[in-house]
């Protein structure tokens, strides 16, 4: 138990948005994009799937680089919880790579996609229940704020929420497989970490 474990918020005070808020936002968006992919077809499905690939890749890089190391440090059962999450991420990444090479309108796309969806959402819910709660409770506000900056740096590599019309602008295009996007996001996180004051994530 750390000293921060028991901190309470006086009535009427609202904590500032932190890294968990950002990750939850990404989870919500992942879930909604998946529903779009399932319900759409043709160009609509293709566009939703491209956005999903970018978002999932950036999200996974952020979790591996930023979230799990801190969670491991803070959680009592941290190692085994993080190990479970890493295995889930590994499985999901393989499915994503496989889907990435397929035509979204091909008949075998949807069954495989449903497997990915099942894996990703179950993984996200487990993170929310077993990892994020603990993180928020045990990590210091400064640590959480630093982590937020790192996740934002990863987001910049592959904008996952493009404004209408700028989709094709060069700055927004990330060409490559999920693995390539993950690598670039990871590099961006490491570069951002260099720039952070020491107290950060």
């Amino acid at each position: 138990m750390t000293a921060t474990a028991k901190r309470t918020m006086p009535y009427g005070v609202m904590p500032a948005a932190d890294v968990v808020d950002l990750l939850l936002q990404q989870h919500g968006r992942i879930r909604d994009l998946m529903t779009e992919v399932m319900g759409g077809s043709g160009d609509q499905r293709r566009a939703a799937f491209r956005q999903l690939v970018r978002l999932l890749s950036v999200h996974e890089a952020a979790e591996e680089e930023v979230v799990h190391p801190v969670a491991r440090r803070h959680a009592a059962a941290g190692d085994s919880i993080v190990a479970d999450r890493l295995q889930e991420e590994h499985d999901a990444k393989e499915l994503l790579e496989q889907l990435d090479g397929m035509d979204p309108d091909a008949p075998d796309f949807l069954p495989l996609f449903l497997r990915l969806r099942d894996a990703v959402i179950t993984h996200a819910v487990s993170e929310q229940r077993y990892e994020f709660n603990n993180l928020r409770h045990k990590a210091s506000p400064a640590e959480l704020a630093g982590m937020r900056l790192l996740v934002q740096a990863a987001e910049k590599v592959a904008p996952t929420h493009p404004h209408a019309g700028v989709e094709s602008a060069t700055a927004n295009i990330v060409i490559g497989t999920p693995t390539a996007i993950i690598d670039r996001a990871r590099d961006a996180i490491r570069a951002a970490r260099e720039r952070l004051p020491r107290s950060g994530g």
């Binding site: 989870h27 959402i121 929310q128």
Partner: protein
Amino acid sequence: MPFNPLQEKGIPLEEQIRNWRELNVEPFDPDTVHPYTRCRVITMNGIEMESILFSHNFARHTNDTELRRQLALSRYVESQQQRVVNWLLPGWSSVLETTIAYEQVATDLTSWVARNEPDPYLRQAYEFGVLEDFDHLYRYSNLYEMIEHRKAEKIVDELTEVMPGRPTKVEHRHPFDNVRENYDKEAAAPISKLHQLTITAAEQQTLNFYANVGPQYMEPIARQLYQEIALIEEEHVTHYESLLDGDQTWLEQLLLHEYNECYLYYSFMEQEVDPKIKRVWETHLAMEIGQLQAAADLLRRYEDRDPAELLPAEVPNVLLFEPNKQFLRDLLATQMDLTTLGTGYVREQHERFVKMQERLHGGEQPPSERVVAVHEERFGGDYRSEQEGPHPVEAFRQHAEARA
């Protein structure tokens, strides 16, 4: 042939106990389920919980071992029914998502009942209450976007609008003013008795749910909002349960419970769009028919009364989950500023109301106000889902900036 569950062939009680395989139901998919399918699941969970709790209380008011055994058997199969129905909910959904669905149930179920209630005094009770559930939907939806970063329309779709109702802040009344007059068991239409049972069961389940899950949240604003709204649910259960004629015997009330379960499973079976869940409603209807007939036998044996005299000759019009947008907008336009005094309704802020408000709020804003204020601060406005135009009451319209 009209459907009369007293005359139908149901499953005998002894044959209703199911094994693990039968109890192991597959949950629905929260992102593709029809919102009203989820509402039907939540409603029937509340109805089954009510039947279980009623039966336990009945058993605590008799020393008759044979009667207690009959209640125990019926209650055991009802417990299995509850486990099946509530286990249709998916583990993927967060507590708050389920909460928002509870408020969609409260809004559209109570609206339908109000629209179809023949007795004007009872109808007024439902019209009064529904504007408060409608406001809870709005408050929880703001919390949802704030802490889970997702919009409530992903859950309720555009079937139910989300906007302020009677503000939760002014729903806190002195407990004396939550007690209504009861219907008269001799004069009331059978459908009125069923409506009262249904809404009381739904509100009781909501109260228990919020009071139990609220502290699972870490975010202070979430914990506080659940605490506040769970207190309103206490008021609602008091409000609706007091409409019951408490002079009806335990066995008479048992018969009504069983009949109501037949009526609701029958209604939901008729409208269900999910084939797997429709089969659950069908199976449970056949079981309820057996339970109703067992309750009818008890009434004949212990009270020498004819159950048919207490029940409708044929099942009433099916209860429907459907949008009630215009109905709610009309109520918003005319009843937002109502409160209660004694067993009636007034528009003035009377002394007992004002004192209660002062005592509870202690000069501060309650969680239901703060959740919207913080949302406005963070997102530049409150969260709403208005499909039929701006709020009917000018003072509750959204600022132009927030709509942009």
